[in-house]
């Protein structure tokens, strides 16, 4: 009974969410077709859809997608490796936790995007500066969650494993990792989000290629319908990736 009511409620909130998006689209349609909003400011949704089909059909997005995807994967891989390694070793000592945890938390709170001009000077306008920025930004949530995850494993569990003869490796594999995993997964999801945001953002500010770069280019060429099509394309990709990561996180939590 309670379960059915819950399902009904979930259905109802879904309906409201979809209704909201539909209403927004209708408003958009009305604004461009009947209320005379300038098409240079806001293109017609039908025109945008047409452009989107065109972009997907010709595959012209591929070179820019490849650049952005490469930057993103490289940044996330670097941040994950360094963040988890540093986090694990810091978590091994109370003293190090007391020293580094506040330091990382403090650095995390400053707007790291301001380093972009510096990174462009260091690494140029190409992918390297985007990778550097994405790595710097996503390093912090990952290292902080790794410290928290490994640093707060319940003492009794470690003692119990030791008393049963667990080796260092067994302790790591069967106790520390499963205990820390849920917290680390949350940090990875946050790192994922901020890496994507900062890379797309920095591409729109100073770059030579990439999806963010292309969107700015289209805006400068006044190709508004196509620009909107690209934005829709990027949004669709990020929604898909976010869904995938949330799903993986939930699975990891259940197992962990």
């Amino acid at each position: 009974m309670a379960r059915r009511r819950e399902a009904m409620q979930r259905l109802a909130s879904r309906a409201v969410q979809i209704g909201f998006l539909l209403a927004l689209s209708a408003l958009w349609y009305a604004a461009t077709n009947f209320w005379g909003v300038n098409h240079l400011l806001l293109p017609n949704p039908a025109a945008v859809f047409h452009e989107l089909v065109e972009v997907l059909r010709t595959g012209q997005f591929l070179p820019d997608l490849r650049v952005t995807a490469t930057e993103f994967v490289a940044a996330l891989a670097l941040a994950t490796t360094s963040g988890m390694l540093v986090g694990f070793f810091v978590s091994r000592s109370r003293y190090w936790i007391a020293v580094f945890e506040p330091l990382f938390a403090g650095l995390y709170s400053i707007p790291i995007i301001l380093l972009l001009p510096l990174y462009v000077l260091f690494f140029g306008l190409g992918p390297a500066s985007k990778i550097a920025l994405g790595t710097t930004i996503s390093f912090f949530p990952i290292v902080l969650s790794t410290i928290a995850g490994f640093g707060n494993v319940e003492r009794t569990l470690v003692t119990a494993a030791r008393s049963m003869g667990a080796s260092d490796y067994q302790l790591f594999r069967y106790v520390l990792v499963p205990a820390a995993l849920p917290v680390i997964l949350t940090g990875l999801r946050m790192g994922f989000t901020v890496a994507l945001l900062s890379i797309l953002g920095s591409e729109t500010i100073a770059s030579l290629a990439g999806l963010g770069h292309h969107i700015v280019q289209l805006a400068e060429d006044m190709e508004m319908a196509r620009m909107f099509a690209y934005i829709a394309f990027v949004v669709a990709i990020t929604v898909l990736l976010n869904g995938l990561v949330s799903h993986l996180e939930a699975r990891g939590r259940r197992r962990g």
Binding site: T156, T159, S163, M164, Q170, G256
Partner: protein, 279 residues
């Protein structure tokens, strides 16, 4: 039992936390000597902070004492001895991300039991504690009493000669505690293990123990050993017998003074000089 061989030999063991002069310096245990006979159940009872859990950790090799030695099966204890000693902790130390069955198998993996024996041993130990139907449950899905049974099953599957239990039923309600105590007595009569059992409960100590070691206030040491001559498995009727009551009262008298002393020794620390001269 007095003629039995010695399973655990505790010689002049003392332990202090921190260095003398430090604020956190505590002399938990002093000059404690005790022999645990093979196959007996020895209860350690005493006021809070008397070092009984410290002694248990020293026996288990989880803590190196600042003085004295412990020998298990003739060998000096220098670290955990998973082949000889299994532990049941106060709070369930089950791994929450593993099922009961997986917990038991993991213990055996840590201890180095050949994989072919895992299934049989896990099943047997779960049956022994009456949890056979809950093998695939996660600890979070069990009641406190069932979790402690599962922890006991994990320890039993290790098939050690010695079992150390640190207030295993301490967090449970009185009734669950009573039932678990009765079941433990039945179980232990069959397994012939040597058990050292730390408890706060006078009734639990008398009901379970072959001998009860009463600890003095901090720094703790064994003040008196009391023998409970009653065969295992203990009958529930034992609880209402005169013998039980007499032993329980004797323990109460011994402990009462020590608990007073423990409280008194805490008091001047807290309000030193506040009302000097008062008795």
């Amino acid at each position: 039992m007095s003629t039995g061989e010695i399973a655990i030999r505790i010689k002049n063991v003392g332990h202090q936390f921190g260095e003398a002069g430090e604020a956190r310096h505590v002399r938990a245990l002093t000059d404690t000597s005790l022999d645990v006979v093979r196959g007996e159940l020895l209860c350690l009872i005493g006021p809070s902070g008397c070092g009984k859990s410290t002694l248990l950790n020293v026996i288990g090799g989880l803590l190196a004492p600042t003085g004295g030695t412990v020998e298990v099966a003739g060998k000096p204890v220098r670290g955990p001895m998973p082949g000889d000693i299994a532990y049941v902790f106060q709070e369930s130390a089950l791994f929450p991300w593993n099922t009961v069955d997986e917990n038991i198998r993991l213990g055996m993996r840590f201890q180095g039991v050949p994989k072919s024996e895992h299934a049989g041993r896990a099943e047997k130990s779960l049956e022994a504690v009456g949890l056979a139907e809950f093998a695939d449950h996660y600890p979070g899905q069990l009641s406190g009493g069932m979790r402690q049974r599962a922890a006991l099953a994990r320890a039993l599957a290790l098939q050690t000669g010695i079992l150390l239990m640190d207030e295993p039923f301490g967090a449970l309600d009185e009734q669950t505690r009573m039932i678990l105590g009765e079941d433990l007595s039945v179980l232990l009569a069959r397994t012939e293990k040597t058990i050292v059992f730390v408890t706060h409960s006078l009734g639990e100590a008398v009901f379970l123990a072959d001998r009860v070691a009463v600890f003095s206030a901090r720094p703790g040491t064994v003040k008196k050993l009391i023998r409970v001559d009653e065969p295992h498995p203990r009958n529930p009727a034992f609880v209402t017998s005169e013998k039980f009551t007499a032993l329980r009262n004797e323990l109460y008298d011994l402990l009462h003074d020590e608990i007073r002393a423990a409280v008194a020794s805490e008091a001047p620390r807290r309000r030193r000089g506040a009302n000097g001269g008062a008795p």
